[in-house]
């Protein structure tokens, strides 16, 4: 009995220590990425605003609207920001270990802690930009989200999914430079397929089925359901996305242990 209590006590102490480490890593990352004389975080707002503005202007000039009469800038910007999260997390994954190797001198900092801290920060920053733009469209265009909780869940699913992908890419980067070379190319080429800038109901039935194989398509649909509600039909299955998240993360964590052993610092 006391053995079990002991065991639970040890797990609790270990968990507290790990939370402390992840907290410290996040604060440090905050300092290096967004701190002091670094204006990097401004791009979080400028880039989606430029995209939304430019495409909104093109639609205005051509006189075409979006199917279902969706607010044009809101559609593009609120699709772009979750994609921005995906791109940020995945593109930064190949350098996650190399850039932080010196931290592995501290035995209780794990590769997982390092990658998680980076991605949590990325998620918090992009989530802040998302909230700011949602407010902006609400105030300026009366385009308030019908179910904001669905947008929050969508962003969390996107973070968990890309975190899983990032773990696997980080593992790969221990063994080869290939990921560092192709990952940017990949995230650009994948853009049309991710679901950031189309809706499933726009597609012919056969293509809809194909599109719904892609887990991020579900996430974007969920976020749009949160924003536009029943104004347009949406298709998503949260269980399907969760299955992907579980698979990627379990595989990622398992292979990360192996990579740590093979890593030469």
């Amino acid at each position: 009995m006391s053995g079990a209590a002991d065991h639970i006590g040890r797990i609790r102490t270990g968990l507290r220590a790990q939370l402390r480490v992840i907290g410290a890593l996040t604060l440090r990352e905050l300092g290096t990425r967004f701190g002091r004389d670094n204006l990097g975080y401004l791009w979080l707002f400028v880039e989606p605003a430029l995209l939304g503005g430019a495409i909104g202007a093109m639609h205005h000039l051509s006189g075409h609207g979006l199917p279902g009469g969706l607010h044009i800038a809101a559609f593009w910007v609120l699709g772009y920001i979750p994609y921005y999260l995906l791109r940020g997390v995945i593109n930064r994954a190949p350098s996650a270990i190399a850039a932080n190797q010196s931290l592995l001198y501290h035995r209780h900092i794990s590769l997982f802690d390092i990658i998680l801290a980076r991605n949590l920060l990325e998620g918090a920053a992009v989530g802040g930009a998302m909230a700011a733009f949602v407010l902006f469209f609400g105030i300026t265009a009366g385009e308030w989200p019908r179910a904001p909780e669905k947008m929050v869940i969508g962003m969390l699913l996107m973070l968990a999914f890309t975190h899983g992908v990032a773990l696997l890419i980080a593992v790969g980067s221990v063994y080869t430079d290939v990921f560092d070379r192709v990952v940017h190319l990949f995230t650009y080429l994948a853009l049309p397929a991710t679901g950031a800038f189309f809706m499933v109901f726009w597609l012919p039935t056969e293509l809809q089925k194909t599109a719904l194989w892609v887990p991020t398509v579900h996430v974007f649909e969920l976020i749009r359901d949160g924003q536009f509600g029943t104004q347009v039909p949406t298709h998503y299955d949260i269980g399907y996305v969760l299955a992907w998240i579980a698979g990627l993360n379990l595989l990622g964590m398992a292979s990360l242990g192996r990579a740590r052993r093979d890593l030469v610092i």
Binding site: A17, R20, V21, G23, A24, L25, L27, R28, G31, T32, Q101, S102, L103, L104, Y105, H106, R107, H108, I109, R260, R261, L263, V264, I265
Partner: protein
């Protein structure tokens, strides 16, 4: 106590597997000051990394029954894009030490002056070494793993390191790797020789040094 059990380490290289350590079994007890002598490339730094847990062994085990520092040398343990002060706060957070006390202690001990508030990448190697040593003293480990660079660095700081370690004499353990017998003599009370991937312990310092010189 730290116990090494049949420790092996080899690396994959373009020329195939290169064995660095082949079957080390020994233990280091609390309060011991041990110098590990080895030629360049004998695997001294690798051994320290394995004991610290920075790298894992190819086979065998390291048991740590006391808190063990990271390997103190020129590299590692700190982040180069942030200041010495930020590094001190980071170390305080991950090791659960009070923030203000830690930054104060590190600032005093490292004697970096205004550089303490500048990014570590602007430091000289001597300054990085001082910061690293101050950070590890702030955490207060039971066992310190020291690469010879610290000891041979600038002599005034070397003297202060020796004093700081001597103050902890009874409770703290020191493992120092070096290729210079003089350094080992200055810091340690017993010695071991690392040669051909094997470690041989000697209770008598002079005996160890004589064998090291002859090898």
């Amino acid at each position: 106590m730290i116990r090494l059990l049949d420790l092996h380490k080899s690396y994959k290289t373009h020329l195939g597997h290169r064995t660095v350590l082949s079957g080390l079994t020994t233990e280091f007890r609390r309060g011991e000051k041990i110098g590990i002598l080895g030629r360049n490339g004998a695997g001294k730094t690798t051994l320290l990394r394995l004991i610290a847990g920075v790298e894992g062994p190819s086979s065998g085990r390291v048991e740590r029954h006391m808190s063990v520092s990271w390997p103190l040398g020129f590299a590692g343990a700190m982040h180069y894009s942030i200041s010495g002060a930020d590094n001190a706060r980071f170390i305080a957070r991950i090791y659960g030490k009070p923030l203000d006390w830690t930054t104060g202690f590190v600032e005093d001990f490292s004697e970096l002056g205004e550089y303490f508030r500048l990014p570590v990448r602007t430091y000289s190697s001597g300054m990085i070494m001082r910061l690293g040593f101050a950070l590890s003293l702030a955490v207060d480990f039971d066992c310190y793993l020291v690469d010879e660079v610290i000891a041979v660095g600038d002599s005034r700081f070397g003297e202060r390191c020796r004093q700081a370690l001597a103050e902890r004499h009874a409770r703290s353990t020191l493992l120092l790797v070096s290729h210079q017998p003089e350094t080992v003599r200055a810091f340690c009370s017993s010695a071991a020789v690392l040669h051909d991937g094997r470690l041989t312990r000697y209770d008598d310092l002079d005996e160890a040094i004589a064998i090291y010189r002859a090898a």
